[in-house]
Amino acid sequence: MKGSRILLVDDETVFTENMSALLTARGYRVTTANSGDSAIQALGENSFDVVVLDLKMPGMDGITTLKEIKKLGLLTETLILTGHGSIDTALEAVKLGAYDYLTKPCEIDELVDKIEGAWEKKDTGEKQEMMETVRKIVESPKSVYGVYPRDKKNK
């Protein structure tokens, strides 16, 4: 979706710069982070639709970062994009809640496809959450009354 907010996390600055330029050219709003810590920080300050996350980083590695992201409880979907791939880590990431898994090098189109898919999921998730909130409001009248000031006359 055009205008989706992407958080790109990778310790290779050349990669993040290039990828950021390519994705921006394709209509995304890209923020880059070069470590797990700065990624968590960024997620605290802004909201994003999709996180594209590398696994092998100095300091906090990808899996730990993924766990931290999930702890934040956001609707943001995470896409793993890594050069250090193995079936084991892929399975682990998916179990921890990653949307999908891509290995470097990959073509920009593949990545865009996955980003779209992740956005869809997030979007659907958001919509569902909104429906949930509305339903809650509708089903419990007391809370609605609580919105207006009490009238002694109408008691």
Binding site: E12, V14, F15, N18, M19, A21, L22, A25, K56, G83, H84, G85, S86, I87, D88, L91, E92, K95, T103, K104, P105, C106, E107, I108
Partner: protein, 594 residues
């Protein structure tokens, strides 16, 4: 046609860690040590016991010689004592007058001599030395002995046994004389000892062939006839030496100068008689005296040396066998060592490749992004003419292709080094292969290749890892298809059969492809070895397959003929060994997703 693995003899030679000379030295060292340890005690004990026995036997022999000589001396002394007693009895129980008269002396002589004939004659001699009476064969009545040594001696000592002398009869003889003092008058009773009888008595002792009995007076004159050393009354070539008590035994060296006929090492035993002072001596060849002992000695040594020889021979053969066992073990150990080294080399390569693969992916990703940037720029610009743009775009597409190729290579590398957990299941091999064929059928058909399957009958269930086995089968089929490159059509025949003898199954993959040349076929399972043109193959497929089959407890081999085709034969046990369950060549379990 070439075989996929070398013959074991060649492998043995290559695996022999040390040259033959080492084993020869080892053999010699072992033989030396073993025989030294077994022979030395044997010989020491043998020689010790033998020597001890010999010494013991010799001392016994000498002791017995001593005893014999002492006994013999006693016999001679007793003889002389008895004869002296007889004379004494006669002299002191009869008067001179009686003995002088008529045949009294003669009858006395006859009676006295009847038992043994030990006297040759008997005579009565007065104090002046004249014969008063005589009984005997010689004509001595007129003879006078005044001044004779024996005469003076007997007058002085009362009893006298003389040395051998010639006397009036001119025959070597010796006398026993007894003095009688009768009412103031002195007279002598004298008897001559029978020389023959006496000699016989003296010589009557067993001394063997080389032995002789010698009787000497203190001057060294023979008193009896010796066997070898001279004649009676002659001077002995050896001196009697000084007086001594008891028996003296000594060995004397060969004396060629003095006794040329007796030039041998001799043993001499001697003892002095008390009365008369004569030396009784036995001389015997040392060798003869100890003949029995020496014989036993030699026999013992003979058996000892035979035993030693046997030990030596047996030891040599046993040691040779042992060394050959050692050599075989060395070869086996070296072979195992080499296998371990190979395995750890492969493992090291695996780890290295994994590291490299990981590291390369990042730069490759960056290359793709740069290429995309350029592609985007080319796409947007209107300033390039069509042909130029096309060429640029083609070049960029080529970059993508090559990067993707790099990715495939690294993926293969990772797969090569990956230590996966395998899942062991029971499966139906024929059904499994049919599934695999189904997977590949479309791709095969497009290449004009037919996939034929000849399933074996009554195939037992197979306990193994299906995913790994699938990887192997797919690899073999892919290779077979690639081998038909350039051919318009071909067949890949897969067959299975049960091998009850080896309790397993045999699967064959035969193709009608280009075949593998003989010089390449021995390396076909080596990692990174490929017959494909540059860029087409990684050379890892067969090496991975080989590893998998080995881990599943089986064997894989290949036969090929250039121009005709290739056939791979896989044999698998009905039940995969435990090691296939997730452990690699180093016995480590891999990480499993949990």
């Amino acid at each position: 046609m070439g075989k996929g693995r070398e013959s074991s003899a060649l492998k043995d030679y290559e695996n022999q860690p040390r040259p033959d000379s080492h084993y020869k030295r080892l053999l010699l060292r072992f033989v030396f040590l073993t025989t030294a340890c077994s022979l030395i005690p044997l010989l020491l004990v043998g020689w010790g016991i033998n020597g001890h026995y010999t010494r013991f036997a010799k001392s016994r022999l000498i002791h017995s010689l001593e005893t014999q000589l002492a006994d013999h001396r006693k016999i001679i002394e007793l003889f002389l004592q008895e004869r002296t007693s007889r004379l004494h009895l006669i002299a002191w129980t009869h008067s001179l007058a009686y003995l002088e008269t008529g045949n009294n002396l003669e009858s006395m002589f006859t009676v006295m001599n009847r038992m043994d004939g030990s006297f040759a004659d008997l005579g009565v001699i007065d104090a002046e030395g004249s014969h008063r009476a005589y009984a005997g064969p010689y004509d001595l009545m007129g003879k006078n002995y005044l001044g004779a040594q024996w005469f003076n001696e007997v007058l002085e000592k009362g009893v006298y046994i003389s040395d051998v002398f010639m006397g009036f009869r001119q025959v070597p003889h010796f006398v026993i004389a007894v003095l009688r003092i009768e009412e103031g008058a002195r007279w002598i009773l004298r008897a001559t000892v029978n020389s023959e009888l006496f000699n016989a008595l003296v010589q009557g002792m067993q001394v063997g062939k080389s032995g002789e009995i010698v009787l000497l007076n203190q001057e060294g004159v023979f008193q009896a006839t010796p066997k070898f050393s001279g004649a009676i009354m002659g001077r002995a070539p050896f001196s009697p030496g000084g007086l001594h008590d008891g028996v003296k035994i000594e060995t004397v060296a060969a004396d060629e100068k003095n006794a040329p006929s007796r030039a041998h090492h001799q043993i001499v035993a001697q003892t002095w008689l008390d009365e008369p002072r004569w030396l009784l001596m036995i001389r015997q060849d040392y060798e003869e005296a100890l003949d029995e002992v020496n014989h036993a000695n030699r026999l013992t040594l003979f058996f000892l040396y035979i035993s030693a020889a046997i030990i030596l021979v047996v030891t040599f053969f046993i040691t040779r066998y042992m060394v050959s066992v050692v050599k075989k073990r060395d070869i086996e150990a070296e072979g195992l060592n080499n296998q371990i080294m190979e395995a750890s080399k492969l493992a090291a390569i695996g780890e290295l490749s994994a590291g490299v693969a990981h590291e390369i992916n990042n730069p490759l990703a960056i290359i793709l992004t740069e290429k995309q940037i350029v592609a985007d720029m080319i796409g947007e610009t209107r300033r390039l003419e069509k042909g130029f743009k096309e060429r640029l775009e083609n070049a960029l597409a080529q970059i993508t292709t090559q990067v993707k190729r790099c990715k495939r290579i690294t993926q293969n590398l990772l797969r090569f080094s990956r230590r996966t957990t395998s899942v062991i299941e029971t499966m139906d091999l024929n059904a499994f292969i049919e599934e695999v064929i189904e997977l590949m059928e479309r791709e095969a058909r497009t290449s004009g290749i037919r996939l034929l399957f000849d399933p074996g009958e009554s195939m037992p269930p197979l306990v193994t890892d299906p995913s790994q086995l699938q990887q192997v089968f797919l690899n073999l089929i892919t290779n077979a298809m690639d081998a038909h490159d350039g051919k318009p059509y071909g067949t890949i025949s897969i067959s299975t059969r049960h091998d009850p003898l080896r309790d397993g199954v045999v699967v064959k993959f035969a193709d009608t492809g280009t075949g593998i040349p003989a010089d390449k076929i021995t390396r076909i399972f080596d990692p990174f070895f490929t017959t494909k043109p540059v860029g087409k193959g990684t050379g890892l497929g067969l090496s991975i397959s080989y590893g998998i089959i080995k881990r599943l407890g089986g064997e894989i081999s290949v036969e090929s003929e250039v121009g005709q085709g290739t056939e791979f034969t896989i044999s698998l046990p009905l039940s995969a060994p435990l090691q296939a369950n997730g452990e690699d060549a180093n016995g480590r379990r891999s990480l499993s997703p949990e």
